[in-house]
Assembly symmetry: C2
Homo-oligomer: 193 residues x 2
Amino acid sequence: MVRPREFDEQEALSAAMRVFWEKGYEATSMGDLTERMGIGRPSLYAAFGGKRELFEAALRAYTKSSLVYIENKLRSATSVRQSLIGYFQGMVDGSAGNNPDFGCLCVNTMVELAPHDSLFADITGEYQTRLTELFRQLIDNGMRSGELPGRLNPSSTARLLTLSAIGLSVTMKAKPDREYAKQVAAEILTLLE
Amino acid sequence: MVRPREFDEQEALSAAMRVFWEKGYEATSMGDLTERMGIGRPSLYAAFGGKRELFEAALRAYTKSSLVYIENKLRSATSVRQSLIGYFQGMVDGSAGNNPDFGCLCVNTMVELAPHDSLFADITGEYQTRLTELFRQLIDNGMRSGELPGRLNPSSTARLLTLSAIGLSVTMKAKPDREYAKQVAAEILTLLE
DNA sequence: CCTATTTTGTACTCATCGGTACATAATGTT
DNA sequence: AACATTATGTACCGATGAGTACAAAATAGG
């Protein structure tokens, strides 16, 4: 009935996510976006609305896939301790594969946009809540199985792990010193003793 | 011999620091700066060089005064544990007085500028190193006096405290939930048990 | 094959960006 | 009081920002 889209919306969104991830929201121009997404300006506006809306879509896509990735990663190991080692070491090793060393888009957004824009405060807050919930369940399981000491408070410990993840993300982004970060990542696990 | 400056350079720099602190580097315009600093554009350029140079000066002033403030805060308490409680609770309570809830300028810079600008990676890295050193000394003292258990590794624990401080700063900035943050801040101290 | 409909590329809009030229005002020295 | 020197305010610069108008191109249905 009409002329079809010449680009894949998911791919374009993924490319946009990368750019925002690398440069931040303010420092990313529409020119950067169209170039990396491989589409023209009007196509971008027609498909996504505008810079802010595009960023929102990119951030939502990020949180979704990131949480799925983390959930799988935490599930894949043989013990609670191994799960967390895998998670934190993974952050250090360039996020285990396809992710560049630009920290966590969600953390970046917490710093750049959340204080002035409640929409992004909500989205990032939700991400944090769900990440903490994943940690809490994991700790709960570990305590039930006897792997972890019974005196831990699962909720508090989970919050502390989230806090550590945020700190590690920022540290890795600012100064990607693998050796240093690996030590810190290992040290985080002493929280479980 | 000549016409003197009509503004106080320290005050102007302090005002600039505040603006960068609140809005971030990219989102701050020269207009924002001149307005809040109460000076004209040419005066700003004559006195500070340009936006980047002004930011550098503001960041250096921040790190300097912040480290002095933290050092005093840590020294003022009667025990190591009380020192750290004071420090972390202080971050939550709106930085104990004169600081708004915009996190730590240094952490903000680690996220926004450090990955793309080695000058700021260096400045923020130095800040982090010195903060960690303050923590390490404190822990060392606590272990010597017998307040802290002997099995702690002062360096590792200090790094973990720095990581937690970063995480708490980001969390507070994004979603200033005092009650939540207070709990997390208290939980951080379990690292010392 | 023709037409209605949507996408695409080019070229623009206006606002704002960081930075500056220049004339005027204010000082210390003589 | 006159001058050299520096600070200030106005008014500007070219570049770039996000967003859009419009015509050409590409499809599906008739």
